[in-house]
């Protein structure tokens, strides 16, 4: 350790790595690819109306099971509808639903978790038991119950899953919050006269940001699968609206007839989207150190 410069250093501007480069380091090549895939899917979903694809609801019985051609780049389904168009438009419901679920579940979950961790006592016990109860109750089952009560539909499915995913965010956030609240800096903030709301909103939640974002990304993937499954069961979007889950279900009958394309394509997209979100979530949470060396 010779040659270490011990002379005092004037505090200059600190070279901070910009957020993007830190993010890039954190994600690694695979994570970046996953992020790009997510971005691509969202882009397609948002641009669906202006993309040069056919009308996904156009039935043309003359081109039933048409092979790929200039008119139908991925062929047509049993009703002669353009598969590519249905996949592109299906991205909208497939991504919008999980987005709503994730936003609602994260907002409610974080709020409940932080209040429970801060207040402790009976409030914490009640919230924790509710989380446990919901956690042990499959989201799909909850959605089935809701569908049975208020009728099947996209809104009902999204609402049910929003509730079902609250504990996924809430439990992790509560655990993190309990850990943070024990740290002396929280006591120091209290002594400075800051209100519980200010401490939670300005310090606690931002400090838990990484795990909340990671858990939210994971939730997005789960919600996408569950919504697709509900569509597959006919409890999500109605049959006419294109949706990946619905497309898998619709194409199922055709697999035996030798036309597995649309089920395969839609299934592959679901896998791609879920895998991408899981990878990004895993990387953001910093849980993939061993992996990252390989990739």
């Amino acid at each position: 350790m010779s040659g270490v410069d011990l002379s005092p250093v004037e505090a200059g501007p600190i070279a901070k790595s910009p957020t993007w480069s830190r993010l890039r380091r954190r994600l690694g090549p695979l994570g970046l690819a996953a992020l790009a895939a997510i971005g691509g899917l969202w882009l397609v979903a948002l641009l669906a109306p202006v993309l040069p694809v056919a009308d996904p609801t156009d039935v043309d019985l003359t081109s039933t099971f048409a092979p790929p051609s200039a008119g139908h780049p991925l062929g047509a389904d049993s009703n002669g509808r353009d598969i590519l168009a249905r996949l592109v438009w299906g991205a909208r419901t497939a991504l919008l639903g999980p987005l709503v679920v994730t936003v609602v579940a994260t907002a409610v979950g974080v709020l409940l978790a932080v209040v429970a961790a801060w207040r402790g006592g009976w409030f914490d016990s009640v919230i924790s038991r509710v989380f446990d109860l919901l956690f042990g109750f499959p989201g799909i089952l909850l959605a089935l119950v809701v569908a049975a009560v208020v009728g099947a539909g996209f809104g009902a499915a999204v609402a049910a899953l929003s509730v079902a995913f609250i504990p996924y965010i809430g439990r992790v956030t509560r655990a993190g919050a309990l850990q943070q609240l024990r740290l002396p800096y929280v006591a120091a903030l209290r002594v400075l006269g800051q209100s519980p709301t200010a401490i939670c909103a300005r310090h606690l939640v931002p400090n838990l940001g990484a795990i909340i974002v990671a858990q939210a990304a994971l939730t997005f993937g789960y919600a996408l699968v569950d919504l697709a499954a509900l569509s597959y069961l006919g409890l999500g979007v109605d049959q006419a609206t294109p949706d990946w889950g619905g497309i898998v279900a619709a194409g199922q009958a055709d697999i035996l007839s030798g036309y597995p394309q649309q089920s395969l394509y839609a299934g592959a997209l679901i896998v791609l989207a879920v895998a991408a979100f899981s990878i990004v979530a895993e990387r953001l949470a910093g849980r993939a150190h061993a992996w990252r060396r390989l990739w």
């Binding site: 800096y185 120091a188 800051q194 931002p206």
Partner: protein
């Protein structure tokens, strides 16, 4: 004492421990006048920190407090949450032992300093940054503007402790609670921080309750020093007098046990036995089992703080051991 800014009376604190309550502060009566600095000295576990923390009611969940804590005549223990918040924000500020643990590592120094001003004093952003710079300058931090955008991990402990002092001063409190602010620092930094602290205190006319286990440090910066043992205050005196005319056998032991550059000793005198916590203290005088002056009645009767000359001492034999001619100082321990 004219009018006390802070008055602790019959303070008892118990904290939950393994299903029961454990008493950590047994009986504390102490007052701090406006602008006065009072040292609170004692070993680890004597209840010094708990005593200071009750002033801002920063106690572990489930802790019970008896007695009274009055700040400027108002009872702190009876304050509503919003009153308590205002009290913490404006009246008393606390400086902690470990500045690194007591700052949010993910927020910049500037955030830390300005947040309180913006939330509690409704200062606009620009003005709060100006003030933060002034405060950093006042505590001797160089190039304050650049420091504002730094994170706690980029600062040394000594610098960070100054930032903490600056934050404590930002609300212009009247009382500073310093909980071993220099223990975690190396000796040179310690001296700087102490110098800044006492200088600012005098300039701003702040009262201070200074917790330390360093008797000399307390003597150097405090007007009066209170000595705690096993959750009780055993002696309060002017810092100078305490040093030369310790009245309680425990204080005598502490004074004798200090190393000094003036004397050469093969071995430092020690107080026999080990320190006792308040909850395990015997029924009589808590120090009796370790006291070489202890008599039978010392273990039966608990002494209370009573005046003896200019000192306040909680010892049953104080008057007997120190007849009121402060000429003879030959009572000191020789080990």
């Amino acid at each position: 004492m004219v009018s006390a800014l802070l008055e602790l009376e019959g303070l008892r604190v118990s904290v939950p421990y393994e299903g029961g309550l454990r008493r950590v502060v047994h009986r504390v009566d102490l007052s701090v006048a406006a602008g006065e600095s009072v040292g609170l000295v004692g070993e680890s576990g004597a209840g010094k920190s708990m005593t200071a923390r009750t002033v801002v009611r920063l106690l572990p969940p489930g802790a019970t407090v008896e007695g009274s804590v009055r700040f400027d005549g108002r009872e702190v223990l009876a304050m509503s949450p919003s009153e308590l918040r205002a009290h913490r924000a404006a009246d008393a500020a606390m400086i902690f032992q470990d500045p690194r643990a007591h700052t949010n590592p993910l927020r910049t120094v500037g955030d830390y300093l300005t947040e309180g001003m913006r939330l509690n004093q409704r200062l606009p952003k620009r003005a709060s940054q100006e003030r933060a710079c002034d405060l950093l300058g006042a505590v001797g931090v160089g190039s304050p503007r650049a420091r504002l955008s730094q994170y706690p991990h980029e600062l040394s402990s000594g610098l960070l402790q100054r930032v903490m002092i600056a934050a404590a001063l930002s609300a212009e409190p009247r009382l500073l609670l310093a909980d071993e602010p220099t223990t975690a620092l190396d000796v040179t930094t310690q001296a700087e921080v102490v110098a800044i602290l006492s200088d600012l205190r005098e300039r701003l006319g702040l009262a201070m309750l200074f917790i330390t286990h360093d008797l000399d440090l307390a003597a150097a910066i405090c007007d009066r020093t209170a000595v705690m043992y096993a959750g009780s205050i055993v002696e309060v005196q002017g810092s100078g007098e305490l040093h030369d005319h310790a009245r309680h056998p425990y204080t005598e032991g502490l004074v004798a046990a200090r190393p000094s550059v003036d004397t050469t000793l093969r071995r430092l005198p020690v107080i026999p036995g080990r320190p006792t916590a308040a909850f395990e203290a015997p029924p009589g005088c808590a120090f009796a089992p370790r006291c070489r002056h202890a008599l039978a009645h010392c273990t039966a009767e608990r002494p209370v703080l009573a005046p003896l000359g200019r000192a306040m001492v909680a010892c049953l034999r104080a008057a007997e051991l120190h007849p009121q001619q402060p000429a003879d100082d030959e009572e000191t321990d020789r080990g």
